[in-house]
Symmetry: C2
DNA sequence: TTCGTTTGTTAGATTAGTCTAACAGAAATA
DNA sequence: TATTTCTGTTAGACTAATCTAACAAACGAA
C-alpha cells in the first residue's frame, strides 16, 4: 500500500525478518518454522519463498533449507533494527505492554523512513547519555499511567512544578477549561483531564494537545456544547467539555504556535 | 497486511481521512478531489467509494457528492488524529522534515494501536506541561542533528554533563570503544560516534543503543573485526568498529539491563 | 439545442497475498 | 520393505488495490 524503503513489500520484509530471527537461533530455517512463527499456513510460505528467490534475497531450492543472500541479510537486519527501535520506543518511552508494542512495531516498521530510523536511534543514544531525561521520562511520564478514575501526572515538584497534582487546585494552574470560554474564542488544547473512556473518546475525536478548538456554542448539563475542530462542528456533552483544558490566551500559547 | 484497529484496510482509512480533510475545508468532496489529493486515478477512487458505501462509512450515490456517515466520520477522525500525533512526534521530537514526517506518519498511522495512540497523546501533554523536558528535547536533542563530518550531542553542561563535547577527551567519559575490548567480551552499545554514511551503515546493521555485541575476533586496519550481534557474526572494518562505543562493564550498564 | 469539456464509471488486466484441499516427496517406523 | 507421518508444493479460489482504455453522463458554452 505504501513504500517500504526497500523495494519489496512489507510482507516480504516480514518473511526476511522471520528467516533472520530463526537463523539467529538455530542452524536451519524451514518453511514449517517460518509458517509457525508468522502464523500463516505453509501454503502461503512456499510462494513467498519463490518471490524472495526471484528477487535474489534468499537462496532456496525446493525442499531445501533457506539461506539469506547478502542483500536479503541486509534488508532483514534493517527491518529487525527498525522493529527493535519502534518496539523499544513504545515500551520504554510510552510504557506500552511488550505484546502490544511488538504488534504495533512489526506493523509500522516497514514504513519508518531511513531518516526517521536514524533519528530514533539517536534519541535512544541521547536518552542513554542524559540522566535528567531518563528521570523525566521514566519517573515523571512513566508514572502517569491511566488508572480507573483519573489520568494524573505525578511528577515531583522539583522536576516539573507545573504538573504538581497533590492539591486539586493546582491542576492546570494557568489553564482554562473549555466550558469557561467565551463563545467564538479559539484556543489550543493543553491537556485532557480525564481517564479511560472519556479520555479515549476525546482523543479519538481529535482533542489532543496542540489542536486548535473554537467554542461555537456553549452548553449546559442538558444541552451539548458545540466545538469546531479541523473545520468541523461537533457536539460535546458538558461532561466531556469540562475535561478539555486549553491555554489561556488566544495567541502565545507557551511555545506551540508554529502552526500555519 | 496487518490489522488496522478499525475493521477496514489502511487504504480505505486513507480514503476516509482524505474525504474528512476535503470536507473540512470545502463544502463538497468529489471523486476528482480525492483522486488528486491521494495521487491516484479516478478509476481507483470509484471502486473505493463503492467499498466504503457497502461498509456504510460514506453515503454515496453515483455521480453525487460524497458524505461521511457517523461511523465513517469516527474512523476518519481517529485516523487523522493518529496521523497528527505521529507526524508531530517525527517533526517536533525527532526533528524530521515536515514532508518526510507526513509520509511516514500517513503510512504508519494505520497500525498504531489505541493504547499506543493514547500514550503518545499523553506524551505531548506531558511535554507541554514540563518545561524541563522541552528544553532537553528541543535544545539538547534538537541540536544534535547530523552534520557533514560528525554526529555530536551539544547539550549544555548544566543540562546534560555526560554529553559535553567541547573537549574531545570527554566523549563517552566512561565508555569504551569496541576495538579496545578483549576478545569474547559482551557489551551493550552506548552510542555510535559517527555521522552520515558510516552511522547509517552501523544502524542498518543493528548497532543501536542497548544492543548487545560480542567481540569475536579483533582486527587491524587491514583485517576486519568480527562481531556477533543477534546471533550472527559479521565483519566490521576497523574504521567502523572504532565508532561503536559500549558500556564499560559486562553487567550493570547504567540502567538498561532489563533485557532477557 | 448541440457540442466539446469535465467528470465519473466500467471493463479488463495485473500484482500481491492469503486460504483450503489435494497431492507429492522424504523420513521414520513397523 | 511397506506403511505411516511429516513436510512442502501446487491448484484453485478469493479479496484488495491499483492501472489504462474505453465509455457515459453532466455541464457549460456557443
Ligand atoms: Mn513487520
Ligand atoms: Mn518485525
Ligand atoms: Mn495513511
Ligand atoms: Mn494520514
Amino acid at each position: 500500500m505504501f513504500n517500504t524503503g526497500s523495494d519489496i513489500t512489507g510482507s516480504l520484509e516480514d518473511y526476511l525478518e522471520t528467516i533472520y530471527r530463526i537463523l539467529g537461533r538455530s542452524s536451519v530455517a524451514r518453511v514449517r518454522d517460518i509458517a509457525e512463527e508468522m502464523q500463516v499456513t505453509p501454503a502461503s510460505v512456499s510462494p513467498a519463498m519463490k518471490r524472495l528467490s526471484e528477487k535474489k534475497l534468499i537462496r532456496y531450492s525446493k525442499r531445501n533449507y533457506i539461506e539469506l543472500t547478502e542483500k536479503g541479510l541486509f534488508i532483514a537486519r534493517r527491518t529487525m533494527t527498525r522493529h527493535n527501535l519502534l518496539s523499544r520506543f513504545l515500551t520504554e518511552i510510552l510504557g506500552i505492554s511488550r505484546e502490544q508494542a511488538e504488534n504495533d512495531a512489526c506493523a509500522m516498521e516497514h514504513y519508518l523512513s531511513d531518516s526517521s530510523m536514524e533519528r530514533l536511534a539517536a534519541f535512544f543514544e541521547f536518552l542513554a547519555a542524559c540522566p535528567e531525561l531518563q528521570v523525566l521520562i521514566k519517573t515523571g511520564f512513566g508514572n502517569c499511567l491511566e488508572n480507573e478514575t483519573e489520568y494524573l501526572f505525578r511528577c515531583s515538584k522539583s522536576i516539573c512544578p507545573l504538573m504538581v497534582h497533590d492539591d486539586k487546585d493546582n491542576i492546570g494552574l494557568e489553564l482554562l477549561c473549555l466550558i469557561d470560554l467565551e463563545p467564538g474564542s479559539s484556543r489550543k488544547i493543553a491537556r485532557i483531564n480525564a481517564a479511560q473512556k472519556i479520555r479515549r473518546q476525546l482523543i479519538d475525536s481529535g482533542f489532543i494537545q496542540g489542536a486548535r478548538v473554537i467554542l461555537i456554542r456553549p452548553g449546559t448539563t442538558d444541552l451539548p456544547f458545540i466545538v469546531r475542530l479541523d473545520g468541523y462542528d461537533q457536539e460535546l456533552p458538558a461532561a466531556m467539555a469540562e475535561c478539555v483544558l486549553v491555554y489561556p490566551d488566544c495567541e502565545g500559547t507557551g511555545e506551540n504556535d508554529n502552526e500555519e
